[in-house]
Symmetry: C2
Subunit: 431 residues, 2 copies
Amino acid sequence: SEALAPEAGLACRAWLALKGLIMGLVLKVCNFFRKAWDLGQNEPKKVIHCLKVGMALTVVSLFYYMRPLYEGMGGNAMWAVMTVVVVFENTVGATICKSLNRICGTFVAGSLAIGIHWIVSQSGKEFEPFINGISVFLLASAVTFSRFIPSVKKRFDYGAMIFILTFSLVAVSGYRVDKLLEMANNRVYTIIIGTALCIMITMIIYPIWAGEELYMLITRNMDKLAYSLDGCVGEYFNESGSSSEGDKESAKKLLGYKCVLTSKATEEAMANFARWEPAHGRFNFRHPWKQYLKIGASMRACAYCIDALDGCVNSENEVPELIKKHMSNIALKVSSESSRVIKELAKTMKTMKKSSTIDYLVGEMNNAVLELQEDLKSLPTLFINPQPLQGADCPEKKNTGAVALMDIMPLVTLVSLLIEIATRIEGLVNA
Amino acid sequence: SEALAPEAGLACRAWLALKGLIMGLVLKVCNFFRKAWDLGQNEPKKVIHCLKVGMALTVVSLFYYMRPLYEGMGGNAMWAVMTVVVVFENTVGATICKSLNRICGTFVAGSLAIGIHWIVSQSGKEFEPFINGISVFLLASAVTFSRFIPSVKKRFDYGAMIFILTFSLVAVSGYRVDKLLEMANNRVYTIIIGTALCIMITMIIYPIWAGEELYMLITRNMDKLAYSLDGCVGEYFNESGSSSEGDKESAKKLLGYKCVLTSKATEEAMANFARWEPAHGRFNFRHPWKQYLKIGASMRACAYCIDALDGCVNSENEVPELIKKHMSNIALKVSSESSRVIKELAKTMKTMKKSSTIDYLVGEMNNAVLELQEDLKSLPTLFINPQPLQGADCPEKKNTGAVALMDIMPLVTLVSLLIEIATRIEGLVNA
């Protein structure tokens, strides 16, 4: 039994280790599913997209199950399935963009490859592999290179890849397959069927438009920006006397501007896809999507300023209460005026009508800025006259001054943003 | 002849229009090629990548041309070609990542589909389409949904797509094809051959490592940041007396920090791919790539500050020459000290050794900041004593103060960046 005891201990330990491992795994899986569930609840659009993909695949697989359809297509029905999987994207614009890329790429590459095949077949069978190999090498290199050129990459990246794929497949298999033309024909047909199905499903059943997503992203970001600006300055001048629960809520809102900082790539992709979409909802076909990018860029510039402002607010330099109180009213006014302008802009975007009050609000904002500057001018007098010794406190005063100046900076940016919006709205009114 | 004249005029005009159109087109094509040529000259790595793609495709098409190889594979050799086109990426890490994703996705989906096929075939042929259809619908929806989950999207996005593709292809074609297992087998083989070829070519012939690219991007951005900081402050205090040629050069350098602002997506993609790469050059297998992301984020925070600083410098508020002169020395010193720290950091990154002078430089920088603060304290005295009336100029003075404060902010960020680097370097020394 002495020999058994350590063995039992070992088995016990192994069992415990295994148990721990399994429990850890189960926990991880649970976590994963909980996260997935949350995601599904927060964004039902994504769940619908998934169901749409499943539906498209099921429909396209009918080509296999129904005898008359299968006999028309043969094994090429595979290409329809493949097309659906690869082309179906979240937004309508992306799906259309990929579909067109796929059809054009396949068609051009197929024609070219068949043309070369025909020329080569006139010259004799023995040279074919060499000529084919060289043409594949040259074209693949050239097209791969073109994918690096920004203007191509932005719109035809996928098409270029499909071009290489189709060209090499057709060129290479032309050596072995006899009915090349028929095969290519069938393939193009199946791809067209697949893409048509995708576009139909994506547009008819609960469509998700890239343009609308972009539009909502921009207006949402605008709101966040206004809250952040408001909150940042407000928090600075009113640090005490707020409950910790409200604090967490507001701290979350304060960090809203970080979303603005990181949304550049999404905006660009959306604007790119939105160009491909037909007219829908309140958006025309030639809606000025590029203006959204400009607005996004201006908003990012604002967000940089807010980031810097936030850094100042949280820096360690303390400001004497007296000056803080003196400045708080006017600084709060500037920030609230400017955030009101942003909110009004967001409202303008939402209703897509030129707001009647926006000019007035901008004027108010500029007035507040002027007032702030006046106030700053009077500050040193205030400083030096009652307590002459406090002149040495200047680095702290500088802090307030810095906050004020940085407040002006978003305003400057805001005004430029405003002018842009005005032009955009004019463009809309004209369209 | 009267009837002829307007016709001739029309033909002439049509000819001119056509000529203009063709000339415009030729000009566009020329421009395109010139751009492509510039790109090729500036980045020879991309050209080499293109030649590698061409080579891989030519090699893989040997499967078609050589009879013994083709007889072994049959039409499935197509999958090898397809794999090469789809999997071959610019960097080694991306290629390996995609290859593994493709192999795993195909294998798992294939096994699952064959398993379901076997179960279904036991139960009878007539239910097969329905069961297959439902399973395709459910799995495609679920996997598409999983692609939205961030952790999956980051690493297994491509694998999930391949999973859907393979599963639906196998499940659907299982209804018509008899030798399913053999087909699946062949397909997996060809994919493995294709990916192996890609990985070999991408690693052996002039490899482009994602890790090295990331590393170079970070160090290059650091240098740019230092130049921008230096240049921004320098330009402000020394606006006159520089030739316009040098100005353009320096203006370009000044905007270097914009690159830092926009390089986030690239950094993240690179770090993601770098994790897959084997040890190469000076980088170990478990090189702490995430630290690079942290450094990148700190650098972006610095760049935000520089952006705000740049805005201040270019704002319309003018500062009286006297104060400007008074402040210029010390502000220049702070900026040059801090940019020296960044440069030293870049050097540390380049040599991957803990620099002996870095602590000293940080100390110098902090001293300069303190000096600047002292100077600011003495400023009001300077202000008020000689010309008491100039007290009204405070908003301008505030401007200088703001510049100084904003100078401190990058420093604060810098120090935190520094601490991070120090930990990273320690990690390196330990590894």
